[in-house]
């Protein structure tokens, strides 16, 4: 199965600070996707980075990908209380079959 594992499991910061979350995966990928989940809600797609890309930006989000280390990081700059959520990574591309998420990183942004 394809699985991303997020690190740290929990992160608490103050509003305005930056938050960095990491993801490690095990197989070769075509792309890696990051999602946000507010408590009890569905997953919101944040960004997709392809295996031939090293960095991608979307608003306050910056994602990097290191295929040699099988790892990715998500940076949220100038965090806001509304960024409080769980963040998941999902490696995908070979197939959408048996995609499995890790436990995610629970980010708490304190006002």
């Amino acid at each position: 199965s394809q699985q991303g594992e997020e690190d740290p499991q929990a992160l608490s910061i103050q509003e305005g600070e930056n938050a960095t979350m990491n993801c490690s995966y095990k197989t070769s990928i075509n792309n890696l996707q990051w999602y946000r989940q507010n408590s009890g809600r569905g997953l919101v797609h944040l960004i997709l980075i392809r295996s031939n890309e090293r960095e991608k930006h979307s608003g306050r989000l910056r994602v990097t990908l290191d295929t040699s280390k099988k790892s990715s990081s998500l940076l949220i700059t100038a965090s806001r209380a509304a960024d409080t959520a769980s963040y998941f990574c999902l490696e995908s591309g070979g197939s959408n079959y048996k995609l499995t998420f890790g436990k995610g990183t629970l980010l708490t942004v304190n006002p």
């Binding site: 075509n30 569905g42 997953l43 079959y97 995609l99």
Partner: protein, 113 residues
Amino acid sequence: DAGVTQSPTHLIKTRGQHVTLRCSPISGHKSVSWYQQVLGQGPQFIFQYYEKEERGRGNFPDRFSARQFPNYSSELNVNALLLGDSALYLCASSPTSAGNTIYFGEGSWLTVV
């Protein structure tokens, strides 16, 4: 354009009963996947359907079944409900079976009492 829509949003069932959850993918998407998410865990893969055929199944008992209709909508059925089936059930759609952005619905909260 509408996103992935799921119904019902919340439901309560009794042990031993049967439940049907429904999902409408984004228009033009032919792949639908189902996930179970229990509190504190990440989503766990249950099924993937593409072009009305089952393409994959996760480690779930035969009490779980699904199907995809000609309009690409999908149903997840769970028989003989157990307390442990209480979870958020998420549906996801994508244009093809691999390589594209996967979009999730808001989920159906199932409570088994």
